[in-house]
Structures are given as structure tokens and as C-alpha cells.
């Protein structure tokens, strides 16, 4: 083809055309990237360099009333070892000492660690687990170990930590202090106080912060708008007293072990304020050990048995259907009502007794008769009275899972002709231990029923921001007259010779309370399955009650014993005894006005003698023995005394040099 202008131009057009098409393609792609997929790519770019971080707040602590820690969030460490990074020289030099240190810390032979670490090095393991759940103090020690102290790059020391909840009192009151857990779906498991007050106080608020990737793998915060500061959770101060809790826990544990019981609980409450000072719940494992299994005191509603006689009696006294002096025939311990028989624990019954005696003796027949005979025409009157005292309502405790009380109303399902008689001594009704305690506490507190309370205050950084005060549930559960009678009767249970609680009586301190021995699993009518609930509830001191307390022990070994006074009573008594012996008795005396001249003179002469720097034996004749001994012994001489009174003679003469004298014998008269 000849080369002509036209030819050249054609080629040029072709090239230009291709270029234009290419340019258009570039523009199209540009528009596509920028406009159509633009937002997606921009987000991707940001994601690589910017990230929203969540800052976890630290959870509030739980304190006891004296400031002891009950629960706190702390870091626990996991220690791993990079066996590849350590230089051969360091390895040779430090392996032995490191294994010795590790062995000492974790109570394992040094050879164990030598083997583990050697194997890790041989397998080129860069992430060998050394220990889990290491406390800070242990971690701090490990950081100083040979080889480890060289750090992650030269020493191969790798640590990870996570925040866990720590309970400094160990297993004590564990169920009541509780915990809060959240699963992947955001569902919370809330146990005890930690769970109850998690949302309101302890949790705090998560913080958010936008961060940008900076040098290395470090992230640095950007901007001011994207910051939400985390708010740490508030601390809560509970009413639990570690001392009383300690005593309660160990006393309960001792009785449970002695009686091989299934489970039990004890609650101590301050009478006036309703503050729970101790709450212990122990359940048995298959191996026969006990631990805080469930919160029985709060959650387990059961037939209370004889401790309910107080409620029945208060109702009857309030309605004036009986008085404490009214005489009842206990019908030889067996009283038939319709097709059933109410039995007393004492074969043959107690004969004719007053209502007050029936209460102290805990006679079932007497109570069944009192309530049945007086209310059978209008049973709703009795039930209304119980309900007026608030016995059918729960206490609205903050701890999740409070058991519901059961008080049936005439006509309700399960109500029958024998209901009154059975309710009178604590069957066909159900209450939780803490609900029963609240009622006894009201009697101790002159009729004022207060809500059992676990919280004293909420704090931020040691400063109280909210205080919790006592809450009155019922300012008067019954008349003052009835309260006084009930208080007297509760005192009699322990003080009278025939009272069921007389075995607990102590001449040095006073208690008032009621025993309860309730049958359990009786429906099956199988003597093997029949078990007992032994309880004791009351308060101390009897006259000006400071604390009320309930002890409930389920299913003690029948061959060892099952009566409330024997099984549960001792726990109650040891608490009463301890609190009594820990409260100093203060005697106030007026100072003597006359200055005793003789005494003053004696003292001055002794003081003058004692101050002298003696070289020779002083004259101690005529001094009181006490003064003479102190003067001579202060000079380094051994003193032997015969008789008592004033010094009649001294074995070493006055004025002898001290140096050679080791012993002086004083004759006193």
C-alpha cells in the first residue's frame, strides 16, 4: 500500500479512536467506582484504618457493713510461653532456675516444668500454656522469674488477662452475694445481690471511642464527637456483717455435719432496722460436703410447722377468742377431727394446760383445738386476721426468686374441714424462712413489721450517693397488749423448765424464741421417706431485742436427732452467745470526791524510791509487797516472796552493793 497522507490520517484516526474508547472506558470505570460502588469502598477503607472501640466499665464492688470486700472485679492472668524466641545462651542459662521458681510457685516438681518447656522448644511451640487463672500477685512474681523477666521478645513471656469477679470472703454467703452473667443472646442470669442490683448500680455504662490505626498495631483515638466516656458501676454497701456471718456460717455448718442434714439456712436480722446481718445457706453434695447451693432462706417456701403457732396465737389473742390463761385439754396427746388425728410429740399429751403452757410445750392438740373450736363457724375470720398481718404476701425482696407464701382462704382449692386445725400448727400453709423471721421480728419490734433489707448505701468512689433507710411494712401487726403477751410467751419457751427451748437456756444472757419440728414428705405415708424440718426462730436479748434470727435445717438424720431445739437451736444460741460476749458491758461510776491522803503519800514515797538510780539495796521494810517487788525487780534482782501484806524483813541488808546480789527473799505479813 502506497504511503499517502490519507493513509497516515486513517491510521491516526484509528489510534485516536482506540484511545478515545480507552478514555471512555476509564471514565466509566471511574464513575462506577466513585459513584456506584463509592460508598462501599469508602466504608471498606475506613474499616481498615478506623474502628469503634467499646470501653468496658469496671463493675462496682460489694462491701460488707464494716467496709470488708464481698465482691470485686479483678484481672486474672493466663501465662503462655513462646519457646522459639529465646536465644540458646539464655535458654541454657535460665531454664533450670525458671523451672525451680515455677515449681515453687505452683507446688509442682521442678522437673515437671523442665519437661514441659523442653518439649515446647523441641516442637517449636510459640504459645505453650504455662498457667491459667493466675492472680495478680502470682503474675507479678512470675514476671520477675529468670528468663521471663526478659519480657516477651527475649524471654518468651506472654500474658493475657480477663476481668473476673472475685469473692474475698470465699464461699461464705456466696449465694446471697451472688453474681450476674450475660449469655450471647443478651439474657441475664441474676443471682443474689450482685444480680439484683446489677442494672441499677453495679454494671455502669459502656463507653465508646473511635480510634484510628497509628504506628504499628496501636490504635489512637480520633475526634471529639465520637467519644462516650464509660461510667464505672457504683459500689454497694450491704448490711452483711462479716463477723456475724462468719459465726452463722460455721455454726450452721457444724450442725449440718453433725446431723448429716440435707440443707439448712440461717438469717440474722437487726430488729429495729430490718438490716440482714448474716445469711447463710448450705446444701449437701453427694460426697456429704456442704456449700452455698441455693438461697433457701429467700427462695424456699415450705410448711413452717410449730413456728407458725405464734401467728395462730397472735390471731386468737387479737380476736380475743382465748387468753393466755385459758385452759385447754390436750386430750392425752391425740385429738380426732373428722377422719384425721392431731398428735402431740409427747405420748399421752400434757393433760389440761393453759394456752401459755401449751405454747411453751408446743402442743399440737391444744392449738388445733383452740383454732378449730373458736373459728370453725367463721373460718374466714381467722384467715382474714392472718392476712391483715400481711402473712399472705411476699416481702418484695430485691433478690430474684423469693418464694411465695401460701395462706389458703375458705373455699380455695385444698381447703377442707380440717384446714383450720392443721393451719393452727403450721401445716397447709407455707412461708419462706425470711418471711417467718420478718413476723417474729415484728413481735420483737413491738408490732412494727419492717422489710428485711440488704443495702445500706450506694457509693461512687467512696462517697455515698444514695442511702437506704428502714422500710416499715406494717406499723402495727396487732395491739400492744397482744405483742406484750406474745413476747412473754416466747421468753417462756426458753426460760420455763417445761419449755421446748429450755435446753438452750443460759443464765448469763437472755433469748426468746420458738422451736419447730415439722414433718416433711408425709403424704406418701412411708416411714422411710418421712423427714423433718427442724427450726428455731426468735430474738435476743429477750427484753430489749437487738437481733432476731431464724435457723432452719431440712432432713436431719433421724437416728441422730430431729427436734428443732436440738438441731437448729444450738446455731441460734451460739449467735446469741457470740453477740452477747462481743458487746462490752459498761458500768458508769462516779469518781470518789475525797482525796485519800494516805494513798497519795504512799504512792509518792514509792515513786520517789522507784525513780532513784540505786547502787545499793534500798530499805523496803514497811512497804507493801507489790511496791517492794516492783522496785527490786526493776533493779534486775530476782525476788522471792513469802506471805502477803507489808514487808516485814528482807534477806539482804540495806546498803549492800547491788553487783553481787541476784536474789532477795521478802517476808511479808
Amino acid at each position: 500500500m502506497p504511503i499517502s497522507d490519507k493513509n497516515i490520517m486513517n491510521r491516526l484516526y484509528l489510534v485516536a479512536g482506540v484511545l478515545v474508547v480507552f478514555a471512555i472506558a476509564v471514565v466509566v470505570k471511574l464513575v462506577d467506582i466513585q459513584m456506584v460502588k463509592g460508598s462501599k469502598y469508602k466504608a471498606k477503607a475506613v474499616q481498615k484504618t478506623e474502628k469503634m472501640f467499646t470501653i468496658e466499665p469496671s463493675r462496682g464492688n460489694i462491701y460488707a457493713d464494716d467496709g470488708s470486700l464481698l465482691a470485686a472485679s479483678v484481672a486474672k492472668y493466663e501465662i503462655r510461653f513462646d519457646a522459639n524466641t529465646v536465644k540458646p545462651k539464655v535458654w541454657e542459662e535460665h531454664l533450670g532456675p525458671l523451672c525451680d521458681s515455677l515449681g515453687k510457685l505452683f507446688h509442682k516438681p521442678s522437673s515437671h516444668y523442665r519437661q514441659v518447656l523442653r518439649k515446647a522448644r523441641a516442637n517449636k511451640n510459640g504459645y505453650k500454656l504455662i498457667a491459667r487463672n493466675v492472680s495478680y500477685l502470682e503474675y507479678a512474681r512470675m514476671r520477675t522469674f529468670p528468663m521471663f523477666r526478659l519480657g516477651p521478645n527475649k524471654g518468651g513471656f506472654i500474658e493475657h488477662h480477663k476481668v473476673v469477679r472475685e469473692y474475698p470472703m470465699g464461699k461464705m454467703a456466696a449465694r446471697s452475694i451472688g453474681y450476674e452473667r450475660v449469655d450471647d443472646k443478651g439474657y441475664y442470669t441474676r443471682v443474689g445481690l450482685d444480680g439484683a442490683f446489677g442494672k441499677t448500680f453495679l454494671r455502669g455504662q459502656e463507653g465508646k471511642r473511635l480510634k484510628q490505626k497509628s504506628a504499628g498495631s496501636r490504635w489512637k483515638p480520633v475526634g471529639f464527637d465520637n467519644i462516650i466516656e464509660p461510667k464505672d458501676g457504683q459500689d454497694i454497701v450491704t448490711t452483711i456483717n462479716t463477723n456475724i456471718q462468719d459465726i452463722a456460717h460455721h455454726a450452721l455448718l457444724g450442725q449440718l455435719e453433725k446431723y448429716k442434714a440435707d440443707h439448712g439456712c440461717v438469717v440474722v436480722m437487726e430488729t429495729e432496722t430490718g438490716e440482714i446481718k448474716a445469711i447463710s445457706n448450705l446444701g449437701r453434695t453427694e460426697e456429704g460436703k456442704y456449700y452455698e447451693k441455693l438461697n433457701y432462706a429467700v427462695g424456699e417456701s415450705h410448711e413452717p410447722g410449730s413456728t407458725f403457732k405464734l401467728m395462730s396465737l397472735v390471731a386468737a389473742l387479737e380476736d380475743k377468742v382465748v387468753d393466755t390463761s385459758t385452759v385447754v385439754d390436750t386430750e392425752k396427746g391425740r385429738w380426732r377431727i373428722y377422719d384425721r388425728t392431731v398428735k402431740d410429740s409427747k405420748w399421752g399429751g400434757y393433760g389440761e394446760v393453759s394456752v401459755a403452757e401449751a405454747f411453751a410445750l408446743s402442743s399440737n392438740t391444744a392449738f388445733a383445738k383452740i383454732i378449730h373450736e373458736n373459728y370453725k363457724e367463721r373460718p374466714e375470720r381467722f384467715v382474714d386476721r392472718l392476712m391483715n398481718m400481711g402473712l399472705h404476701e411476699d416481702l418484695q425482696l430485691p433478690i430474684v426468686g423469693e418464694g411465695q407464701p401460701v395462706i389458703r382462704y375458705p373455699g380455695d382449692e385444698g381447703w377442707s374441714g380440717i384446714s383450720l386445725a392443721w393451719m393452727s400448727h403450721g401445716y397447709e400453709v407455707a412461708m419462706t424462712p425470711i418471711q417467718t423471721l420478718a413476723f417474729y421480728n415484728a413481735v420483737a419490734n413491738d408490732g412494727i413489721m419492717v422489710r428485711p433489707r440488704f443495702l445500706k448505701e450506694a457509693r461512687i468512689g467512696g462517697k455515698a450517693i444514695r442511702r437506704f433507710n428502714k422500710e416499715v411494712l406494717n406499723s402495727s401487726i396487732c395491739s400492744q397488749e397482744t405483742v406484750k403477751k406474745a413476747q412473754k410467751l416466747l421468753k417462756d419457751v426458753v426460760e420455763k423448765d417445761f419449755g421446748t427451748g429450755n435446753g438452750l437456756y443460759s443464765s448469763s444472757f437472755s433469748m426468746a424464741g420458738k422451736t419447730g419440728t415439722c414433718q416433711k414428705n408425709y403424704v406418701a405415708q412411708d416411714p422411710d421417706k418421712l423427714a423433718y424440718i427442724s427450726s428455731f426462730v426468735g430474738y435476743f436479748p429477750a427484753d430489749q431485742p437487738k437481733y432476731s434470727c431464724i435457723v432452719v435445717i431440712h432432713e436431719p438424720d433421724k437416728s441422730v436427732g430431729y427436734y428443732g431445739a436440738d438441731v437448729s437451736g444450738p446455731v441460734f444460741k451460739s449467735l446469741a452467745q457470740k453477740i452477747y460476749s462481743n458487746s462490752p458491758v459498761v458500768d458508769e461510776v462516779a469518781p470518789g470526791n475525797t482525796i485519800q491522803n494516805k494513798l497519795e503519800e504512799n504512792y509518792n514515797s514509792y515513786y520517789a524510791e522507784a525513780r532513784k538510780a540505786h547502787q545499793n539495796i534500798p530499805n523496803v521494810k514497811g512497804m507493801s509487797g507489790m511496791d517492794a517487788i516492783s522496785i527490786l525487780e526493776n533493779m534486775g534482782i530476782q525476788v522471792e516472796v513469802r506471805g502477803n501484806g507489808k514487808v516485814k524483813s528482807q534477806s539482804v541488808e540495806v546498803g549492800k552493793k547491788l553487783e553481787n546480789i541476784k536474789k532477795v527473799v521478802l517476808e511479808l505479813s
Partner: protein
């Protein structure tokens, strides 16, 4: 246009008659640049410091709880009782008596 570019390359704006004004601006601009760089460094420094402080807080907190736990455990009556039982000591059964002398105000 060509002349303008050449002038800049020759650095004429640094030496011509109204150069001091340009110098002032240059100083200002470099001052701003220094400020920016240093504050960015300071921010980085702060991040490192915060990380170190957070670590310290965590360590102190854990140490506090660990020591506190130890103290609380040995302070308990049940622990004390076991420790002194070999010395023949046991908790008192009777309360301590305090005698308070009333003084006249």
C-alpha cells in the same frame, strides 16, 4: 507563565523587594506544620501513657483485692480461733467489762 515558574524555581520570592512578607508567611506556615507534627506526637504519647496507666490501675486494683482478701481471711474469728487454739486461747464466753468514770463538767 513560563517566567513565573522560572522565578519561583530561582527563589526570587525570597530575595525580591517584598520578600520579608513572604518570609513571614513561610515562617508561619512552618510553625503551623511543626505544631501539627508535635501535637500528633503528643497524642501518640498520651495513648501510650493511658495504656500504661490503665495497666497500672488494673495491677493496683488486683493487688488491693488480693491483699484485702488475705487480710479479711486472717481477720475472721474462725481463722483466728484455729490459729490460737494451740496456745490455749479461745474466745471469751463473757463480755468485756468497761468501767467508765463519770467526770463532772
Amino acid at each position: 507563565m513560563k517566567k513565573g515558574v522560572l522565578d519561583i524555581l530561582k527563589g526570587k520570592f525570597l530575595v525580591s523587594g517584598d520578600a520579608p512578607k513572604n518570609w513571614l508567611f513561610l515562617f508561619f506556615a512552618s510553625f503551623l506544620a511543626t505544631l501539627m507534627i508535635s501535637s500528633s506526637h503528643r497524642a501518640d504519647q498520651k495513648v501510650i501513657e493511658i495504656a500504661a496507666l490503665t495497666e497500672e490501675v488494673r495491677a493496683l486494683r488486683s493487688e488491693f483485692v488480693a491483699k484485702r482478701q488475705e487480710l479479711q481471711q486472717i481477720r475472721l474469728e474462725s481463722t483466728l480461733r484455729q490459729q490460737v487454739v494451740d496456745n490455749g486461747l479461745k474466745p471469751a464466753a463473757m463480755p468485756p467489762q468497761k468501767i467508765r468514770v463519770k467526770t463532772e463538767e
